[in-house]
Symmetry: D2
Subunit: 183 residues, 4 copies
Amino acid sequence: MASIVVLAGSPSTTSRTAAVLDLLALRLTGHGHDVRIVSIRELPPGPLLAADTHHPAICDAVAAIAGAHGLIVASPIYKAAYTGLLKAFLDLLPQYALAGKTVLPLVTGGTPAHVLAVDYALRPVLTSMGAHVGQGYFVLDQLINLAPTTGPTLAPTAERPLLSIVDAFSEAVASFRPVTVTV
Amino acid sequence: MASIVVLAGSPSTTSRTAAVLDLLALRLTGHGHDVRIVSIRELPPGPLLAADTHHPAICDAVAAIAGAHGLIVASPIYKAAYTGLLKAFLDLLPQYALAGKTVLPLVTGGTPAHVLAVDYALRPVLTSMGAHVGQGYFVLDQLINLAPTTGPTLAPTAERPLLSIVDAFSEAVASFRPVTVTV
Amino acid sequence: MASIVVLAGSPSTTSRTAAVLDLLALRLTGHGHDVRIVSIRELPPGPLLAADTHHPAICDAVAAIAGAHGLIVASPIYKAAYTGLLKAFLDLLPQYALAGKTVLPLVTGGTPAHVLAVDYALRPVLTSMGAHVGQGYFVLDQLINLAPTTGPTLAPTAERPLLSIVDAFSEAVASFRPVTVTV
Amino acid sequence: MASIVVLAGSPSTTSRTAAVLDLLALRLTGHGHDVRIVSIRELPPGPLLAADTHHPAICDAVAAIAGAHGLIVASPIYKAAYTGLLKAFLDLLPQYALAGKTVLPLVTGGTPAHVLAVDYALRPVLTSMGAHVGQGYFVLDQLINLAPTTGPTLAPTAERPLLSIVDAFSEAVASFRPVTVTV
């Protein structure tokens, strides 16, 4: 059993990214992990943008990251990259805040034309923070059914590979033993 | 004479990026341009992150971008890319908000190891917004002297090429005639 | 009237990239430009990979680039980026071989998932060589009809925007006046 | 004990990249691995660029990759990215040739300004091929002493972290158990 943070980087109140994350958090909890969703858009905007890590809510979110063995880092694609909201939170973390942690990058977008943003935009940022970044995944918006009353669902063509990747991530987090690099 | 917006993406109150921008704004004003500095960190954080373009201050900044012929888009490098603060502002603009506009990307960083972030991180975002992105520039932090009382200065090794690039940008903005592409 | 090189980076003998380039070369010739297609796969492989710029065929290709006012640089997308064949040729050119030249990056691919490779992979390389890189374009393979007997054609949904972009490139090459930057 | 391929992507006959790789191959052999250096520049140029996987030398190199548990993929930085020589070889491999394999990206360059090319250029290509890409490393040319007679050495500031990373890679290859993803 590991401690996992699901970091939600969508600024939208009716976010498809958030809907997918709820499903994945449930799956990871089912695998016995201790899962916490950190929704960046619910953090106080002023302290977030000013990188005020003394503010209790920011301090608590930073501590959650520090204590996690693994993270799902999720964002919709805006303007060919991750959201500014997600990056603003990553910016206030220490440079190597993700060292020794296994990270699954998860991105949603309205067109397959955004797919490469996972590897060309999000992954380099996570790698620069010391993360052990495994396989990422891109979910097409139209495969996410928000279904406000009955709860969100994924189309089978997205659900099968995504659950498979999350299960692999679950195993990787459980077994990952970071190796200290002497500099 | 053209209308130029200098978009400042540093969250820091004692920003070296901002210091360089003051120098460049002065230079562009000297060339007869109408220059306005938009400091993103002075916009209201809540409306900024919620993309509330009805808020007067946000609305005013968006209008400034819409009315500009050219922009300097500036950011320090955090975590191998532009700041979340800058991206949050770009995220609330329309997808093609920079179409027909000449853009000079300007980046500051503490080590030359950040140089490629101009072309691999910032430029693709600006290009996705339709901008005509010219030559960019990277200024090493240590070449920027903040000099709080007498005003900021640049070391000659940074000042000469930067002013030369800004002068080229000035000419490019003045002469640029966007060509409409039929889709 | 300007001198334009169309640089073909596909290793395939039945290349869709090459088919599109033939159409564009015709269009540019129609605009009064002096157009030359440099097909990298027809250069001698040994001297190409050894960067032997004394070999007559390599020397001639390098001179064509040096003499061009503008270039279309074209490649299919393999493994999320431009081809090794194209990069091998760019590698043997001087670092600033494209300074003062207007460049149109053109990429073909089998799925829209490759679109961002234009801006995240090809453009940074061209920019590092001093090129003035304008708007790029991605053509989906299935919109290119090779039609070996009657000659290649493009589906209207690709042909209209592409010709429009090439016409804009034609004007940009004709009017571009590089500004010398003092370093 | 694992089977490891060291893939050398420098076209130079007096390559600093190759010198570093000799040191690393020795280290990995010392850890009990079966190490093979594949020097791309020694493959026949014509068949390489034509992706002729029936040519015996090409076929043999492809088989070496297929049989490896882990790879060091190494390149100098030319024009802000990996070499065309390296990419030409990767281009002729199957799309998922690196699936289930642990990869250490290793890059050399003349200035720290090239550092980010590891994560923004090389890593996305390796990831697109299914590789499990761990921490990468950049070695500054001037820290590599070619010493033609006594054999190459690394300056201590480069040797310590690099050997540490290679040791971590050695452990990761030995322990990595790829997880099959159902699509």
